[in-house]
Symmetry: none
Subunit: 288 residues, 2 copies
Amino acid sequence: MDSFEGIVEFVAVAERGGFSAAARQLACSTSHVSRQVAKLEARLGCVLLARSTRLVSLTESGTAYYQQCKELVTGLQQANEQINQQQFHLNGTLRVSAAGGFAEQFVAPLLMKFAQQHPELTVNIDFDSRMVNFVEDSIDFAVRYGELTDSSLIARKLVSRPMVAVASPDYIQQNGTPQHPNQLKNHSCIISNNDHWLFNIDGTQQSIKVSGRWRSNNSNAVVNACQHGLGIAYLPKSSFENTINNNQLVPVLEAFWGKAATSWIVYQNRQFLPLRAKMAIDYLIDNI
Amino acid sequence: MDSFEGIVEFVAVAERGGFSAAARQLACSTSHVSRQVAKLEARLGCVLLARSTRLVSLTESGTAYYQQCKELVTGLQQANEQINQQQFHLNGTLRVSAAGGFAEQFVAPLLMKFAQQHPELTVNIDFDSRMVNFVEDSIDFAVRYGELTDSSLIARKLVSRPMVAVASPDYIQQNGTPQHPNQLKNHSCIISNNDHWLFNIDGTQQSIKVSGRWRSNNSNAVVNACQHGLGIAYLPKSSFENTINNNQLVPVLEAFWGKAATSWIVYQNRQFLPLRAKMAIDYLIDNI
DNA sequence: CCTTATTATTGCTATATAGCAATAGTGTTT
DNA sequence: AAACACTATTGCTATATAGCAATAATAAGG
């Protein structure tokens, strides 16, 4: 089988007119260049470079061979440049498996935003929650909820905070306490990023669509509005830690709060995750 | 600087659909193929082959990269085939430096015969006797006469016999003895292969053009004609050994005979003499 | 003409590599 | 379901290689 060994060195010597200059260009030793070219000549059974000390020139055979090798080296550069560009321009298709309501409501919108930032990228989300085969299905990563079972995958924690609903005592006094998440549609709700709130109903996580007169994507504004009795709010429990503790706000539908389970991003234990996957994962982790 | 390392292995895996099959094709170990491809992926910073045990397929990046690498491998094969063919079809130019009358009269005609046997070969003989530079002038070999001075060259003995002129006693009696080679134009000469005879005149070798009524390229016929008094003959001394010893022929212009010096073929001490040079040298040695 | 600087080659040695063998995984056959 | 055959990866070791340094040759400068 033919070998590319010595080709790069030979082309460098031919172009630079000497072994030392070629070695400098290639950032290696003159002895290495000398030996690589000598080995190439041995394999081919002919002399490519005519040399006396301090003078190197291409032989007739060498000139013809150099022309062809030059094209090979250029072709390699182009191939490497193209694959490099491909990596950093995020083209191709990002394939994600993301089951469940959380993925539908939080992951999908974020990935759509991500896709908008990379016009040449296609995002393909599979909401089927079956066990996927990363190789066969060419899945870049999956979003999984709860405890993980496959130890061969790499897991990155995506989100681990429970979402809770609260209201002010005044609001409760005036409007009553909802006894079930389904009754939220009859209440005024303060909407943060999402008007689908998740509750653990009969052991399964369900999303309830809510509505209200106040919307804000600022957590503090949401907490303030809630304290002023504008409605029921739904945020990570940590956002209400203080106001619940000093009874400024009271928990609502506490029996339906989900466990503090974690959502994960999982992907194959491979050395090189495509950059599009890596960047998408980082984007999700940073923005969720 | 880009490297071709792993390209051949990667293409083989892509085409054979597995590392083991690729290893068999390349006549190397599976561990070598595995490592070479892994190193290539490391350099490029992306995965070219998606693999689980017993299953290998090209990734999206890998497919594009494979197409380009396939062209590189094909190009290398073509380049190697072409240089291989070039070697064995004796094309290109044979460049010889051959000074002096001997080269002119013996080497040149033989090289012309050689060239006739290889239609795609060009023979370029430089009759200038200056010291040539093998590298700068791209000389394949040189013909040199007498003692060699450059020990860095390889020397092959070409011919080592002195040429001598003789005549029969009858011829001498009838026509007188020429006292100087210049007088040969006034004598009848028996011409073998060449009508320019070499003599050592005033320390330098000069060729004298002769003429006569008898020509033959057969040494025995020449000797016979000389014995019958048809003229003066000029052949290697060995051809007349017997006839001179029994006085059937007598030496002529003995003071002008050259020393029994040797003609050499010399060429660079290089590992790979172009085949055309090698075959030409062998041809000269076999036929002179 | 002598000295200096730079070249290419090669002996020698520390380091990287190719192959062997062990390991884990998976498809096929019984 | 178990056994078998084949796969890819990786630890380990003998061997090949890359770089250092010595050497010889040659061009340039004083």
